[in-house]
């Protein structure tokens, strides 16, 4: 059996009791380490589980899935995923490959950013589709998020924006030369995301959102030191919320007054908050 085990969001103790049982009895334990990260390292997990953990990078999962699945028809393999196994789409391939090999699969669910974003005080049923923001380069600024946000905005819903992480990536030069030299990991910050959002709005000028749209910057949700900052997009271009992971919510116009009271406690500036709320979210 191939078990996809959700690890939750923060540290080694966020695994479920059921998940921990699977890890303890599995033949081999892999940790998917390129779509998200915990706030603790592999060593901490190994000491908590009392057994070795194999870090699976993108290359391994995408090119050597048969190595991961080796023997899973006879014994149990645990594939650990930060958050919930369904949060990322990249594991579908591994599951489909397992099915081709007639290996049964099972998921052990856990918290994901999609529900933990409720820590902001925003109501989960007021969220539209989730979008992703990737690091822009000089020549590559994918803006499909802009159309998805427009759709959410058109029906008044909040948008959760998930931010890019780059782990074990090669520079173009090293890739071209076939050198397996990897860049240091990079995690997009709330400030970078806000800047890129404004860059695209300035380019398209379709008023999907604007400099004074209210957003909430989120850092390390689920951890003891989780942090939030609520302000305008322009204000959050300069915010520093510390260590990763970060995410961001663009407030929909259907926001409720109870939500306002909750998020105002994170406001970087109460006056600009009130102004933007009144402008976009009705009678403050």
């Amino acid at each position: 059996m191939l078990y996809l085990v959700g690890l939750g969001l923060a540290d080694e103790a966020d695994i479920t009791v059921k998940g921990l049982e699977v890890v303890k009895r599995a033949e081999r334990v892999y940790l998917e380490a390129y779509t998200s990260i915990l706030h603790v390292g592999k060593e901490r997990l190994e000491s908590f589980y009392g057994r070795p953990v194999i870090v699976a990078d993108r290359e391994m999962v995408e090119s050597s899935s048969d190595e991961i699945l080796e023997g899973a028809d006879k014994s149990d393999i645990a594939f650990l995923v930060v958050g919930d196994p369904f949060g990322a789409t990249t594991h579908t391939d591994l599951v489909l490959r397992a099915r081709e090999l007639s290996i049964p699969t099972k998921s052990i669910p856990n918290a994901s950013i999609l529900n933990a974003i409720g820590e902001t005080g925003l109501q989960l049923y007021n969220f539209g589709q989730t979008v992703s923001m990737v690091f822009f380069t000089e020549t590559w600024k994918p803006a499909s998020f802009y159309d998805r946000i427009r759709e959410n905005v058109s029906i008044g819903l909040h948008t959760l924006v998930l931010l890019d992480i780059k782990v074990k990536e090669q520079s173009l030069e090293n890739m071209a030369r076939g050198r397996k030299i990897y860049e240091p990991p990079r995690y997009m910050t709330v400030a970078q995301c806000a800047q890129q959002m404004l860059e695209i709005e300035e380019e398209k000028q379709e008023n999907v959102y604007s400099e004074d749209s209210l957003v909430i910057g989120c850092a390390r949700i689920g951890a003891d030191d989780q942090a939030f900052a609520c302000g305008t997009l322009r204000e959050l271009c300069d915010i520093d919320l510390g260590a990763p992971l970060h995410s961001l919510v663009l407030l929909g116009k259907r926001a409720h007054e109870l939500e306002r009271d909750y998020i105002k406690s994170f406001a970087v500036d109460a006056t600009t908050f009130d102004n933007s709320w009144e402008k976009y979210h009705g009678k403050s």
Copy 2:
């Protein structure tokens, strides 16, 4: 400290290691038992935790929150919530009351139906806002879900429909006479939900969806015996998916072919599935 501890979806072992530690050391442990249910009873939880659990019904949480919060300024109180603490909105009042009393609060996240719905094979980023379906009566057929679904449909997104549960409810007569006699619990089935959806569409005739729209009926997601059935709304009016809890997904037109391949394995009739897919979701 007031801890809101997510229990996950199926049984006693879906709690996180962190959550279990809180439960074991808390002064008192409450189980919220009216917005959702686990597939195991209170006794199973008590034996797993090694301590008593107080069942908190709606009346207690809404009218006697100070009783729950008693002493939480000095010691820890655990309030257990099926799924994730943020899944239901009804606990906001308890948290706000705690804040009024200067009692710190903390959530221990867990899986919720909002991410576990990924078990269907549908991509979570293709979902719009979540809606709720309540039991209709002769005189009360709230249809606000219809407008929310229309919004999701307009931008091609899937809609997760959460189904009503009635636990410890009084009949109107018993309520009027002040008799604390409670009706047996009721859990809405996929078939009842599909019937009510069609009833409203027939009444409104605005073509938000139709008899041959594709939906997925889901039962006991997260449990070993979870079950799915994919078919037209009309087909699912007669489906029996067994014990609760049930939920339903109305497929958005933006559904991807990979999603199709996955959900077709649950099809109640491959031919009607193909017909509806071709009609609403493009080149099959």
